[in-house]
Symmetry: C2
Subunit: 345 residues, 2 copies
DNA sequence: CTGAAAGCGCTAACAC
DNA sequence: GTGTTAGCGCTTTCAG
């Protein structure tokens, strides 16, 4: 053992234990434990005595030891991509606050969207967390099964999985993208282009499909299509090429605001284009930036705050009722019309 | 006990334990432990056998149990304010990645800058974390002493504490603010104003003092002073009042970019002012937004990436060498001259 | 209401 | 090299 025997009177390193308090208060160690357990059976007298000496010693119950024996943890693993995208920053903040309201704490796992997340999940599993929230990344079917087997609640946010075994919360990607298509067609645009996000992601898949299918219903199709993987840098690069073309699109739907704002900036600063007049740019998400007069981005709003709240609620419910079914939530959004795209009529 | 006895053959709930693996592999439980400990003394034969059955069973060592006995945790508590401010979002992302490189994971504690953080720290202490990183919030002297006593490494980022007992990492707040003052005076401004952040924060204190002292050296003083508590909303509100005054300032130094950008936006959109010509606006931090042509904010850069890296490094060093002295790091920055403020000469 | 005792899953001496 | 044993700090029966 690394430590001195507990019976030793000399000062040990590290925080005091329930044993230390018990000895000093002249009670049993279980009495100490009970004094810190809300509904437990202790006389008020003992409890006060314990609490007093505990304060003197600076004793605090060791939550790690507790979780080891109670077999549950109030730690939630949160895998989330690049916080430079305000959508994720906002989501994470809301998520951690909502989790806190249920008494949970978030353990952060930075998860590049494009990365293979299985090793990350493996690590999460090693911590015996109370639950997992996966933002924009999904479980391989093998791991999904494993979580199910060991009874670990998982909710995926902003991504649906191939299999129906894990709970998901998403915005209305298809419907939203269709509304954008409708709006752009009504605006009388000639060459409508699409800037894709990460092609392996369900969000991009759904947005692109919703967009192109609606276009098709109007007998239209994409004039251009580029892939910028949800990255602002790649969006800028593609914008420079795309906008320099002689057959430049007069409307560009970007799979998220992060890319749309990068494109809008390049269009204005480097090509002298006036968004909403010379070119229509539309995004998806409605992040904080999009509402600023500098960008005034027309976009489809995802209800990010509710997505976070729902995720925390669903997870909490799954933890409380271990054999609840997996749920799939699609949260409605709305088209927010600002100045970056030409209006119909 | 909540569980069936381990000797029971029926399927228990929950993940398999080292015991389960040991029984199936026909070795002792310690052999299993050793097989998962890098430098341990096991024959390759045993190790392979163990690893094989472990994989079959889906066994993973329980990190919680491990940390209970090894008396150390690779979990780092990170208290950080509002992620809507890109400075913090970037800092958190870098921080969690740098921590991961050292083998640590971040446990997230949302900490409103204005809030009294002692209860939050108390909770952090209950988790027996390996270390604490406090961004823009500081320990009360009582808790600082306690951390010292129990040997818990703490580093404060972007805030200095009154007492010298905890390690700190800050940018050059005084020097940076002085450079801004120098620049504004040289630019020939008549009425120089200051928009304060949170008055209780050391960052605001140092920036304001560095700014006004430099002004004083030039025989100048503040024409106006408002307090917006590092909030974009409050910055907007104050901007509306300030810019409507007949004696409106012709230069405004905001204690961070988050406020400066809000002010800049209002000045342009609501007052028709051209930043850099009609009014000079300067920020502090140099967040991602400031470099965009839409804002082109003149600002003093804080080396956020290095701040994160240093914080992770210092913490790691403190964890490795428990009785190292507290360090105080001041990272240099640089004035980034863009278009939002009139140039000298 | 209270203490003694048995573990949660694991690591680290300690013998052999 | 390997198994046995004693805990880490705590919760939870189980007697009394």
């Amino acid at each position: 053992m690394a430590r001195q025997p507990t019976s030793d009177a000399i000062a040990r390193p590290g925080p005091p234990t329930a044993h230390d308090v018990a000895r000093l208060a002249g009670v049993s160690q279980s009495a100490v434990s009970r004094s810190f357990t809300p509904g437990a059976s202790v006389s008020e007298k003992t409890r006060q005595k314990v609490l007093k000496t505990a304060k003197e010693l600076g004793y605090r119950p060791n939550l790690i030891a507790r979780s080891l024996i109670t077999q549950r943890s109030n730690l939630i693993g949160v895998a989330i991509p690049h916080l430079g995208n305000p959508f994720y920053a906002t989501l994470l903040e809301a998520l951690s606050e909502d989790l806190a309201e249920h008494g949970y704490r978030a353990m952060l796992f930075p998860a590049p969207m494009s990365a293979f997340v299985d090793p990350l999940i493996e690590e999460m599993l090693s911590f015996r967390l109370g639950g997992l929230i996966l933002v924009s990344s999904s479980l391989s079917s093998g791991l999904a099964e494993e979580c199910l087997r060991i009874g670990l609640p998982v909710v995926q946010v902003n991504r649906v999985s191939s299999r129906g075994t894990v709970s998901t919360i998403v915005g209305d990607n298809r419907g939203g993208a269709a509304q954008v298509a409708e709006f752009l067609v009504a605006g009388g645009h000639e060459r409508i282009a699409y800037m894709a996000g990460l092609e392996a992601s369900s969000t991009n898949h759904d947005r692109e499909e919703g967009f192109t299918e609606c276009l098709a219903r109007h007998g239209r199709s994409l004039s251009h299509r580029v892939v910028a993987n949800y990255s602002a840098e790649q969006a800028r690069d593609h914008a420079r090429i795309l906008l320099a073309r002689p057959d430049r699109p007069d409307a560009l739907f970007c799979a998220n605001d992060h890319m749309a704002i990068a494109v809008l900036s390049v269009a204005r600063a480097e090509f002298g284009l006036v968004p909403g007049r010379d070119i229509s740019i539309v995004g998806f998400d409605d992040t904080r930036l999009s509402a600023m007069p500098e960008f005034s981005l027309t976009t489809f709003r995802q209800p990010v705050i509710e997505m976070a709240r729902d995720a925390a609620d669903v997870l909490h419910r799954m933890i409380s009722a271990p054999d609840a079914e997996a749920t799939r939530t699609v949260l409605p959004g709305e088209l927010v019309i600002r100045g970056s795209a030409r209006l119909p009529g």
